[in-house]
Symmetry: C2
Subunit: 182 residues, 2 copies
């Protein structure tokens, strides 16, 4: 069963990588040029700070998941519940990194969504114009990217859950932070 | 030891409630009126959509943590590792809710931060003016609130980690989703 849960985790990681990479590509390659009043204007993801951060964070998260996937393939000690010596610190580090990655991707996704919604709706109180009625294709592509990104965040939350489950169930239910069978 | 970890969790929840309530209050009670060019303008948290969402989400998260704190005081079955019958579903529900609450507060905090940064810096490409040079006091109060909010998010992430640890260590390390001692 430990093998099956490892397989599920690997599949989830694979999908998460695909979705993260496609989010980064969809956002990074998105640009549109339009003639606005007197001059030609090009909009790219670099104009929205949140999208710039999104591209970097998603790329790093995808690389992290790929590294994890590769390291799991080589060392199968993990799934066998072998937590002796330095292996234990590695497991804890991986579990914490998984959690951190999930939280950060989710938060960055939400910041990008907030910025995108502002571009769609504008903010009348601040006299901020909306821009999506002019750059429609650009906005639709960002919308698709954010959908991918949120799906990837949910997958990463599930991965961090599984990762915590795999680590914590090796511990004794009676004594704090003592491994079972010791 | 199980008692001590429960105590740590209760203390963390207490601090999280305090911080969430103070975030909601700081944001909700923040307003500033200034004379801008020709007319008087009042800015409140309702003008920034992300802050409105922040107030509601933080209030709900504080109420949820308070409920958890109260329910833990009455039922101590939890910390004794008693996971029989319906208790098990309740533990799982609590663990998942803790995770969900942590993710959502963190994400909403980040969306609010993104919107606030936009108000501070403006966005030249979109011809969005900055407003914080006019409403300085308002902006400083929001900054304080966001600091409180992020601290609360980190506390809630720690709570969800402890909650997962308490639940998962009751499970067998060999068999998937089987309790120990069964």
């Amino acid at each position: 069963m430990a093998l099956e849960i490892a397989k599920v985790e690997a599949i989830l990681r694979g999908f998460a990588i695909l979705l993260l990479v496609s989010t980064a590509c969809l956002v990074g390659l998105d640009s549109q040029t339009k003639f606005v009043i007197l001059y030609e204007k090009e909009v790219t993801y670099k104009d929205l700070r949140a999208l710039l951060v999104l591209v970097y964070v998603d790329a790093v998260a995808a690389a992290y998941n790929l590294l994890q996937l590769i390291s799991r393939c080589f060392s199968s000690a993990w799934s066998k519940g072998n937590l002796k010596g330095s292996n234990r610190y590695l497991s804890w580090a991986c579990c914490l990194l998984d959690q951190l990655a999930a939280y950060i991707t989710f938060a960055v996704q939400s910041a990008a969504l907030e910025h995108s919604v502002l571009v769609i709706t504008g903010a009348e109180v601040f006299q901020w114009m909306k821009w999506c009625n002019r750059f429609t294709r650009f906005c639709f592509q960002i919308g698709g990217a954010l959908t991918c990104g949120y799906t990837a965040s949910v997958l990463m939350a599930m991965i961090s859950f599984i990762s915590a489950f795999n680590l914590f169930r090796l511990y004794s239910p009676k004594y704090f932070l003592r491994l079972k069978g010791t």
